[in-house]
Amino acid sequence: MSKPAVSPREIVRRGDALRAELGDELRDQIVAGLYDRAGRIAGRSVQAAGSGHWNLDQRIDRVVTSRWLGLPLMMALLGLVFWITILGANVPSQMLADALFRVEGVGAGWFSAMGAPWWLTGLLWHGVFRGLAWVVSVMLPPMAIFFPAFTMLEDLGYLPRVAFNLDWLFRKAGAHGKQALTMAMGFGCNAAGVTSTRIIDSPRERLLAILTNNFVPCNGRFPTLIMLAVIFVAAAVPPAFAAIAAAGSVMLVVLLGVGFTLAVSWALSNSLLSGEASAFTLEMPPYRRPNILRILYTSLIDRTIFVLGRAMLTAAPAGAVIWLLANVQAGGVSLADRSIALLEPLGIAIGLDGVILLAYVIAIPANEIVVPTMLMCYLGGTMMVDVSAYDQIRAVLVDQHGWTLLTAANLMLFSLLHNPCATTILTIWRETRSAKWTAIGSLMPLGIAFGACFCVAQGARMLS
């Protein structure tokens, strides 16, 4: 091919010169022309007849997005989903735990009978397998209920209504109204939530949405919150109200998360990321009949199995690491005890303890395994004998390790606010391509978590 007669630079220069001649109205002319032609063509090919269905959507919307009923209705729906999850997950969780821990006992027994060395039995059965068993029994039942319920709301077309209801709050915080949508995605998975911020046009508001996405608890953290709510909150009220109280407290944590999202967005948009909130059009899709089979498929295969698979993948090595920490000794004291002792003062200062902090360090790859990790640290090499999952956990935490309501409340707070998991951090990096914002996105939540827990712990201790 011969060399082009006109250079690209020349083309652009000529284009710019011609643009200067044309003036500023070109864009407006183009857009007006588009609308005009679209209107004429549509007018020719669409004929409308009166129908009642059109109005039904609008009538529902008038209630669902109304100024007074919109927010309470939204909270009621979310509360209902939590309540169903807690009520429904309890029994299957215990049955799974029973079955799996029986397998652990039998398996370890076989290994011993076959003459396997004690450390192999320990590492495989009391380490790796026990980690997996905890993850499956604590996480699978709540997820198998929560995800289909949440997907159902999504399929109905409820999520944009949520964004509509929350829009004014986000605008007041200097953020984009669509951040309500990316926040809702975060309930599923924070990494997915961070990716979904691409729907926000302005870089400033997009960054706000990325940095604060972590403040809504993802699937990996819901089981922790639900378990704590059941063990501590539900146990403190009469059995008839147990599920409602537990659901209420999870709800409270979620609202707190939304509160932190707004507060941090506001603080950032008045400091590092100052600017005006931009306007946008939000489309209300029609309510559509949910496709039950597809909901089950999406929520069970895509979400439940995916999250569980990831949890198991990280739980297996974590189980081994904990078993090793608990069983490898240096100077007569196990490595686990050494690191716990090291972290203990910091843990106590923020109303937690060394074990919890160690669990969070080990669980950086995935938040899902925090509780199993904690339990394995507490239990060390010992075997569990009790049969009922939640009672068993309660016995370990409260009776043996002195947990109080304060510990539980602070752990819920810490779990809500602390740094994002490794996957999310990686996603923040991929989306921002900036070491600075990735660091802020990881360390700012951690700092806030320590700060908030410290204040609560010190406040509670002063009052008591």
């Binding site: 690209p8 083309i11 549509a42 090919s45 007849a49």
Partner: protein, 272 residues
């Protein structure tokens, strides 16, 4: 009109879903459209994949790829993020626009919502400015019906100069017709004559001067009029693409014969 009432159209084409095995495909088909018009549903129905479908705007933020085959030909299908326009520069709109311009799909299916045709046509008209190899998929026909809207797809196709196919993707209605319209456009059996805007005189004159230059600078450049118009509008991304030689590389790869003028009437022969 009914989607499957016509005896001549190949409603029973040999079709196979091929999931993500996109290697060695013969043709690339892009799926564009406004948000929440059912692009992902169509994508899943054609490829047999299970990309998550949500009832809210902005569900697909990255493009998904899948494949299907019809009558021995393999098609790669690219599901683009939903956009209202190709003019502004939010990231998801740019993904769509860049793919239409630089990805050079062999055919672009623009999915439109039959219940909001006017707003959806904005995007169709913009796509037509870039490429004439377009099939308009008028989806959600059942919802339009329930709202008492009658969409005359034949008149739409006549006006736009490209095939238009009515579908109800959720129930897989009209998809065979959609696929055969796509293969018709790709094979050249269906000659399209995309409706393009007549610019105001001043802009037209400016285009007259810029387009020949572009043709000289980058011989064989597709969508040259559109590129020229974007330059006149001061489009940052297009300017960069011209300067960096990205557009020139595109023209080299895709040397096409000089555009043939066709009358609008021949455009929809065989489309319905």
């Amino acid at each position: 009109m009914s989607a499957d009432g016509c005896g001549a159209c190949p409603a029973h084409v040999q079709m196979a879903k091929m999931g993500v095995s996109i290697a060695g495909s013969d043709h690339v088909v892009a799926l564009a459209g406004n948000p929440n018009t059912g692009k992902s549903t169509i994508f899943n129905a054609l490829t047999g994949l299970r990309q998550h479908v949500g009832n809210w705007t902005g569900k697909t933020v990255t493009r998904a790829e899948g494949a299907f085959s019809v009558e021995g030909k393999r098609y790669k299908l690219v599901d683009l993020p939903g956009t209202y326009s190709l003019l502004s520069a939010s990231q998801d709109e740019e993904i769509s626009r860049n793919f239409l311009l630089f990805g050079r799909p062999d055919c672009t299916v623009v999915v439109v919502d039959a219940t909001a045709l006017e707003r959806n046509l904005n995007l169709v008209l913009q796509v037509l400015e870039i490429t004439g190899k377009v099939v308009v998929c008028v989806n959600l026909m059942d919802e339009a019906e329930r709202k008492g809207l009658q969409v005359d797809v034949r008149s739409l196709a006549r006006d736009l100069g490209v095939p238009a196919v009515p579908t109800v993707a959720r129930d897989k209605r009209g998809l065979a017709q959609l696929v055969s319209a796509v293969s018709g456009v790709i094979s050249g059996e269906t000659v399209t004559a995309p409706l393009r805007a007549t610019p105001p005189p001043a802009v037209g004159a400016a285009l007259e001067r810029l387009v020949p230059l572009l043709r000289k600078a980058i011989p064989g450049l597709p969508s040259e009029r559109w590129v020229a118009l974007r330059l006149l509008d001061g489009d940052r991304r297009v300017r960069e693409a011209v300067l960096s030689g990205e557009l020139a590389g595109l023209a080299d790869r895709q040397r096409i014969p000089a555009p043939v003028e066709t009358s609008r009437v021949t455009a929809i022969a065989g489309a319905q």
